[in-house]
């Protein structure tokens, strides 16, 4: 034992050097009493299964008897697209989550030092840690609903989207005459125009309830020299009417984006139609032009992102997971901060360092051990992530959200029944945490 790992507690604990034999035996009896249950539990539930799983990973689906497959199970894990997705996703988790969780925790820990209600803030951010990852999955699944009417996140997205680009005034419309044709999402009048001309942009196929509010009787504007005027209107009245002619009872369409293209097709002017549907391009140089309805007129309202769909499910999971663990990181880092020598910080401030310099050059380096503990803890957590994937990813997205722990469960238990491949995934997970295992032991040795 000498020179090895010694966890010597304070000297007094050592037994007297020449204790009598009876005492010696009872001492070992005591050890057996105190340590017995632990050794049984760790032996049966952890050590034996670990050996079993590693051995089992080299055998096929049917069991140990005569089904030695060598490294076939591992080959499957690294080649079948189902498992490769899981490995890739786990790599994404490892690349994103520990860094974000540590950075956010550091940020929160430093910022809360400057407010008076830091306890309340920390409690709120830490709260998700007490909730099961499963309930968190359910919670976020409600928030992520694609319909902006139902999912809070897409509802916020709609507010933001409406602020940047308003949805078009028309959802759908078709030209009333063949001279108006589809063009890049909008419509373009083929009839060439010259300054002093008038463009007639008649549209049909608009249901009365879809007409923009405030529409008035359409008016065909009089030609103006040097300008190109026009009207965009609902070229339909009860009974039909004549296509391409502005008639009584036919309404102008307000708010339509009208664009003037030059002969090369470039948009040179754009305007918005009035309540009677009229618009005017002023001071148009001599030349040949085409007028048309811009694509933005038909811009669809924000339909929401499919957070739970195959392409966004992993980012959606990462966000929810970071929401859980930011509190952990913040609390651990805050404890590290409060244990930091204040005089060092004060000294650097007195020396004229800015807050940023103090943070970057003093706080972070002094916190490095704590930060690395948080980071490593998160790597381990993320490698084993399971519950939240199970709860948050709808069945249709599960194959895209796949991670190793999830794939292991599906393969071995949930209908899969393949213990060979399942064992190989478990062994792979174990292999991935071995560096941390070694690190823990080294740290323990150093401590003693």
């Amino acid at each position: 034992m000498s020179g090895g790992i010694t966890a010597e507690p304070p000297v007094a604990a050592a037994p007297p050097p020449n204790a009598e034999p009876g005492r010696f035996i009872s001492r070992y009896g005591m050890v057996a009493v105190f340590l017995g249950p632990t050794l049984v539990l760790l032996g049966v539930w952890m050590v034996y299964p670990a050996v079993y799983t590693i051995a089992r990973s080299f055998f096929g689906q049917t069991g140990f008897l005569g089904s030695w497959v060598g490294t076939d199970n591992y080959h499957t894990v690294f080649t079948s697209s189902y498992f490769v997705t899981a490995i890739k996703n786990n790599a994404i988790w490892v690349a994103v989550v520990p860094a974000f969780v540590t950075a956010i925790g550091l940020l929160f820990a430093v910022l809360t030092e400057r407010i008076r209600w830091s306890v309340a803030f920390k409690t709120v951010v830490f709260l998700p840690m007490a909730i099961s990852a499963f309930a968190t999955g359910v919670t976020w699944r409600i928030l992520y609903d694609q319909d902006p009417n139902l999912g809070a996140i897409n509802a916020l997205g709609r507010v933001a989207s409406d602020a940047v680009t308003s949805p078009g005034v028309l959802s759908t419309a078709s030209p009333s005459t063949s001279s108006l044709q589809q063009h890049g999402g909008g419509l373009l009048l083929k009839t060439p125009l010259h300054p002093g001309g008038v463009a007639l942009l008649g549209l049909t196929g608009i249901a009365p309830q879809d007409m923009p509010t405030g529409a008035k009787q359409a008016v065909k504007p009089a030609p103006k020299p040097g300008d190109i005027g026009g009207v965009v209107w609902r070229d339909f009245k009860p009974g039909g009417g004549k296509p391409g002619v502005v008639e009584p009872e036919e309404q102008g369409i307000p708010g339509v984006t009208v664009e003037l293209h030059d002969s090369s097709g470039k948009v040179v002017q754009s305007a918005r139609s009035d309540a009677d549907g009229t618009f005017d391009f002023t001071n148009v140089p001599v030349g040949t032009y085409n007028a048309g309805v811009g694509a933005s007129t038909f811009a669809k309202p924000f339909g929401g992102y499919a957070w739970l769909g195959p392409s966004l499910i992993t980012p959606a999971l990462l966000i929810a997971y970071i929401w859980i663990w930011a509190g952990f990181s913040m609390v651990v880092i805050a404890a590290g901060l409060s244990a930091m020598p204040r005089d060092v910080l004060e000294a650097s401030r007195t020396d004229g360092a800015s807050e940023w310099q103090v943070f970057r050059r003093v706080t972070v380096p002094l916190l490095a051990p704590v930060l690395s503990v948080v980071f490593i803890t998160m790597i381990i957590n993320v490698l084993k992530v399971f519950d939240i994937v199970y709860a948050l990813a709808p069945e249709s997205s599960q194959s895209s959200a796949n991670v190793l722990a999830f794939a292991m469960f599906q393969t071995a238990f949930s209908g899969g029944g393949n213990f060979g491949v399942g064992s190989a995934i478990a062994a792979l997970l174990f292999l991935l945490v071995i560096p941390v295992l070694v690190l823990n032991i080294r740290r323990f040795k150093r401590e003693v």
């Binding site: 090895g4 790992i5 304070p10 604990a13 001492r27 050890v31 009493v33 105190f34 340590l35 632990t38 539990l41 760790l42 539930w45 952890m46 050590v47 299964p49 079993y52 799983t53 089992r56 929160f108 910022l111 400057r114 407010i115 309340a120 803030f121 709260l127 998700p128 007490a130 909730i131 099961s132 499963f134 309930a135 919670t139 699944r141 928030l143 009417n149 809070a152 509802a155 929401w323 609390v331 651990v332 590290g336 204040r342 704590v370 803890t377 399971f386 519950d387 722990a405 292991m408 469960f409 071995a412 238990f413 213990f419 478990a426 997970l429 174990f430 945490v433 295992l437 823990n440 032991i441």
Partner: protein
């Protein structure tokens, strides 16, 4: 002493009115920023709760925030129905059995082992402790398949104590690590004088170690309770009809939108008890967390 007094700013002495105004102005945006972040952190849980008190008919057309416009929609009928649902009640009972049984086992067995590693001397002690540290990070996945087979053979499959025992084994390395480190720090002279007075190790353990180690034991107990209460994977693997609440809810996930009147309130019920435990014993919880990760 000087260091302890230093962080205290001396108001009035150095702070002029002007510098105080400047500080409030610069701290204003920070307060607002953190208030917004805090609110954002609360929104998911609030959303779950509001969803749980809305009738399923109104959730098909509009999100939970409709309650701010129509507060009268709120109803306890979802909860009412759930508390008459024998499946949920059984699941809650199973969860409590697993969580309480496991917590007791981990605390008792872990404290005994922690004491042995800290204060008993026997050959190989440090090597066994190194193995315990090594087991700290072994993924649960490593044991699922072999224990599934073994449980099946010995009749532990689909029992609450089978699930609790599995959690106990996987909780022990952390428990021993935490308690051993705490016990080592207890004053040696108290233990030594008890030994000289002829107290047996069992008496020392019960009369001295357990009371003195209470803060660490409390942290551990809360940790274990939350950990097992919130578990999904172990119960999903080793239970079939014996299901804790997480597994019971997961059975409804397939029809998420139409079963939301069960899923949302049941999820909220499942998190009320951990939250209550967390708020009641927050200090111990955080201490355990720090002891487990920083040291």
């Amino acid at each position: 002493m000087a260091a302890a007094a230093e962080p205290m700013p001396l108001p009035g002495a150095r702070d002029s009115l002007g510098s105080r105004i400047v500080r409030v102005l610069t701290r204003g945006p920070l307060n607002i920023l953190l208030a917004v972040i805090g609110l954002l952190w609360l929104v998911p849980t609030i959303g779950l709760f509001i969803t749980s008190i809305l009738p399923v008919s109104s959730l098909g057309t509009s999100g939970w925030w409709q309650i701010f416009r129509h507060p009268s929609l709120a109803t306890w009928s979802n909860y009412d129905a759930l508390f008459h649902n024998s499946g949920l009640l059984t699941a809650l009972k199973t969860t409590a059995y697993i969580a309480v049984g496991n917590t007791l086992l981990v605390v008792i067995i872990g404290a005994m082992a922690g004491y042995a590693f800290a204060w008993l001397d026997f050959p190989g002690r440090d090597w066994i402790f190194v193995i315990v540290i090594a087991l700290l990070v072994v993924p649960i996945q490593m044991a699922l398949i072999p224990m599934f087979r073994l449980y099946d053979q010995v009749g532990l499959f689909d029992t609450w104590y089978g699930i609790a025992l599995f959690h106990t084994a996987f909780g022990l390395p952390f428990a021993i690590f935490l308690l051993r480190n705490f016990f080592v720090g207890l004053p040696a002279d108290i233990l030594e004088s008890a030994r000289i007075d002829g107290a047996s190790e069992i008496v020392i353990f019960l009369r001295l170690i357990l009371p003195l180690g209470l803060p660490a034991i409390a942290s551990l107990a809360i940790f274990q309770f939350l950990w097992t209460w919130n578990d999904l994977l172990v119960a999903l693997t080793f239970g079939q009809n014996t299901t804790p609440i997480t597994v019971w809810i997961s059975g409804q996930l397939r029809e998420f939108a139409t079963s939301i009147d069960i899923i949302a309130p049941a999820s909220f019920i499942s998190l009320v008890i951990p939250l209550a435990v967390f708020f009641a014993f927050q200090r111990y919880f955080v201490q355990g967390l720090l002891a487990g990760s920083v040291k």
